[in-house]
């Protein structure tokens, strides 16, 4: 989005935290540089662009990378490189890694509560959101070795063949993280996608990019292989046209795009028959979120000698 004036944080989930609520610090704070997450590294955008986030009181919170088309392309290259290896990990191992993300997040609860507060949530809501997110990760960790059983079939064909169908990762998914619930919304989109063996590039919510970057650090510390999840920050409108027309992306997932943006994504998706999936139509906790990002493969083999 081409924003001329600095973006102001809107309190969407509760009270706005103003300057006066911040603790008094005695020493000069080390401020964090909010970088993107691509291929297991934390680079700045190659474009050198940034946008400024301010809180409701007008204080600058952060300079955020304004990612570019080139960043997206780099991210997709790393997604493709990582996808087969990730899909080939055993279901058990993928489950353990998702569980590990939950463990790491549990240990960093306070940090996420703080970031959510900075993004305008109340303390109680922030606490609840972080806890729900941890539980959601555990939920999807448990699905990795079960959804295949739920959605598979052995098909009783008439001829002398053994025939079975099972779901496989559809490949690379581009994710437009929801603007609501900076952490839970984000993770409820990533978890089912990677639980199913896909890799993804996430366009962070433009107004809440910090939780996304914080979460990248959590994944980085939880044995998620490089390139399985990439996180870009910046103008979603730009990203949307680049991602939806990218010929090596297999699916687009969103939950709260405007109807005009949905239409744009769907039009561009037809360039390479991308799957377009609206997660807002599926519950946060549902194996169907995993299934929607899968392809069904059917295999035949003769029965005989």
């Amino acid at each position: 989005m081409a924003v001329k004036s600095p973006v102001k944080i809107k309190a969407t989930n509760g009270q706005v935290v103003t300057k006066s609520a911040a603790p008094v610090v005695k020493r000069a704070e080390i401020k964090k540089t909010w970088k993107m997450y691509i291929d297991g590294k934390f680079p700045r955008t190659e474009s050198g662009r940034y946008y400024v986030l301010k809180d409701a009181a007008g204080t600058v919170i952060a300079n955020i990378c304004k990612g570019s088309r080139k960043d997206l392309r780099d991210a997709v290259v790393s997604n493709r490189k990582a996808q087969e290896g990730w899909a080939k990990r055993s279901a058990y191992n993928k489950g353990q890694i998702l569980y590990r993300i939950a463990e790491t997040l549990e240990g960093r609860k306070a940090q996420f509560v703080e970031t959510l507060l900075m993004q305008g949530t109340s303390h109680a809501k922030a606490q609840a959101e972080v806890e729900s997110t941890i539980d959601l990760l555990v939920y999807y960790a448990g699905w990795t070795d079960k959804y295949i059983q739920i959605f598979s079939s052995v098909n009783p064909v008439e001829s002398a063949h053994f025939n079975f169908s099972y779901p496989e990762a559809c490949g690379i998914v581009s994710v437009f993280a929801t603007e609501q619930n900076g952490l839970l919304g984000l993770v409820s989109m990533i978890a089912p996608i990677i639980a199913g063996g896909n890799t993804c590039t996430v366009m962070a919510a433009e107004l809440f990019p910090m939780t996304a970057i914080d979460f990248a650090e959590v994944m980085h510390a939880s044995d998620v292989p490089s390139g399985v999840v990439n996180i870009l920050t910046g103008p979603r409108k730009e990203f949307l046209s680049h991602a939806s027309s990218h010929m090596d992306i297999n699916a687009i997932v969103y939950a709260d795009l405007t109807s005009a943006d949905q239409k744009l994504a769907q039009i561009n998706a037809s360039l390479n028959v991308k799957r377009v999936i609206d997660f807002s139509k599926e519950a946060l906790l549902s194996p169907y979120r995993i299934f929607q990002c899968q392809e069904t493969k059917t295999t035949w083999h003769p029965v005989g000698i």
Binding site: S153, H161, L264, W300
Partner: protein, 491 residues
């Protein structure tokens, strides 16, 4: 075109000849002209326009069919909507199922007539329409009929409900079978249907309309409208249609996906393919050769999942090529109604021209072309079984779907190499693997990015078996439990 004559090793007709064994056409009933099937009745098109459908083996007219205008499409959709609101969605599920069973039974009763008409209208060998198309069509109705009252068990944790009116557009390669694939799951799930058959092969769909009348389905539950691209576009864009099911080319599929952008319509697309058929050195070679023949020459190669790219492991390449040529020399091309015919007529002149131009492109790009020396009839649309060797991944005939009896042959050394080559295509509908080693079957079939994998077999279909593609070969599955999902809302 340079034509190389094969060695005469297996050229059976030099030893003896087959006497003609044509299937009789005396018993079939085809009207001179067909109207649109709307609201349970055959209705003349609003424009009074009709077009001919010809027999591609003789170029003679068989009948004329109506051309549906946008107004006719609207009428059909509205009658489907009324039928949905008033009868079909309200009917007890088990009753719904019984009507679908009826269709299956009548199809079986009229199987012979339908097979003959299918072969006349589409040019496919009677052996295929008799043994595959028609029995499978009946089996599809029989399979999905049983789902009608069992939907509560189909989707764990979810309750399903029908969508409304489904608009369905089908291709000319398996006319009645595709109609069955589309209509059966739609009806079982409680939807009503407007179906548009392909313009070159409308007759068996219109015979199905008669069967639907005979089965006494409530008027409007199934509407069948004939026409070309414009009629299809009117159906896709009709605001009351809740779901589009399309089988056809990737090119048209993309146009449909684009035109559905910004709507809430669900859609499934079964599009083109360029399947890899892979033979490893440890395969049972004679069986593999049979499978390759079936993979590419079944239905004149007018098959979206045809095994059109053959990959042979280097050590057996010479032997496989010789056996393939020998086997191809035995194939009989000719009268689709003759029970000895292996390869029938190309479906239309337009398709024949497309095949010819791609084969020319293949020769121009440096591929070595070999064709069967078989005789072909003078009237009608025919194309000899054709092999290309000396081709590269970048050649058009290796990349583009030909949809005809043309096979490209490449060699490989390692499993990794062939997997990479096989997946190097925007398509992902199907693939074949030939090896005697079970672990290799599983490694390769898992690595192929395609929706249907035939291991030590090829081109097998069944109502219980989900079918559909990855990547640009489409989305969604037809057949089996998975084929129900596109026709329901899940809550």
């Amino acid at each position: 075109m340079k034509k190389v004559t094969a060695d005469k090793g297996l050229k059976f007709d030099t030893q003896w000849t087959y006497a003609p064994a044509p299937e009789s056409t005396d018993h079939i009933k085809i009207k001179d002209r067909y109207d649109l099937f709307i609201n349970g009745k055959f209705t003349p098109p609003s424009t009074r326009k009709y077009f001919d459908t010809i027999n591609p083996a003789t170029e003679k007219k068989i009948s004329a069919v109506a051309e549906a205008s946008a107004a006719d499409v609207d009428k059909a959709v509205k009658s489907a909507q009324v039928a949905y609101d008033k009868t079909w969605s309200k009917m007890q599920a088990s009753e719904r199922g019984k009507y679908i069973y009826r269709i299956a039974r009548i199809l079986q009763e009229k199987a012979r007539e339908l097979a003959v008409i299918e072969s006349m209208d589409a040019g496919k060998p009677i052996r295929e329409s008799r043994d595959i198309d028609i029995p499978l069509a009946a089996a599809h109705f029989f399979y999905y009929a049983g789902w009608a009252d069992k939907l509560d068990y189909a989707f764990p944790g979810k309750k399903s409900s029908p969508l409304g009116v489904a608009g369905q557009i089908i291709p000319w390669n398996f006319p009645l079978l595709m109609a069955a694939w589309k209509i059966a799951p739609a009806l079982a799930a409680g939807n009503t249907v407007v179906l548009k058959p392909a313009e070159t092969t409308p007759l068996t769909a219109l015979k199905l309309a008669e069967i639907i009348q005979e089965a006494d389905l409530p008027p409007g539950v199934v509407n069948i409208i004939t026409g070309a691209g414009a009629s299809g576009a009117a159906l896709v864009n009709h605001p009351q249609v809740k779901k589009i099911a399309f089988t056809g080319s990737t090119e048209v599929g993309k146009i449909i996906q684009k035109s559905l952008a910004g709507t809430d319509k669900k859609y499934t697309l079964e599009l083109g393919g360029k399947a890899a058929n892979i033979i490893f050195e440890d395969a049972a070679i004679d069986q593999a050769v049979e499978g390759v023949i079936n993979g590419i020459f079944f239905n004149q190669g007018h098959v979206c999942c045809a095994g059109s790219r053959l990959f042979v492991q280097e050590g057996i390449a010479k032997e496989v090529l010789r056996k393939l040529k020998d086997r191809i020399e035995t194939l009989i091309i000719g009268d689709p109604l003759d029970k000895n015919t292996d390869i029938g007529a190309i479906n239309s002149k337009a398709q024949l021209n497309k095949i010819k131009s791609l084969v020319q492109a293949g020769i121009k790009e440096g591929g070595e072309c070999w064709q069967s020396s078989c005789k072909i009839p003078t009237k009608g649309f025919w194309f000899r079984p054709t092999l290309f060797t000396g081709v590269a991944q970048s050649h058009r005939i290796v990349q583009e779907e030909i949809f005809g009896p043309v096979l490209t042959i490449q060699t490989f050394r390692t499993v990794e190499e062939v997997i990479e080559k096989a997946n190097n295509t925007p398509y992902g509908l199907s693939g074949g693997v030939w090896t005697d080693k079970g672990s290799k079957v599983f490694k390769v079939s898992a690595a192929l990015k395609a929706g249907v994998i035939w291991a030590n077999t090829y081109n097998k279909f069944d109502p219980t078996s989900p079918f559909g593609g990855y990547k640009e070969s489409g989305m969604g599955r037809e057949g089996g439990l998975h084929g129900l999902q596109p026709y329901v809302n899940l809550q």
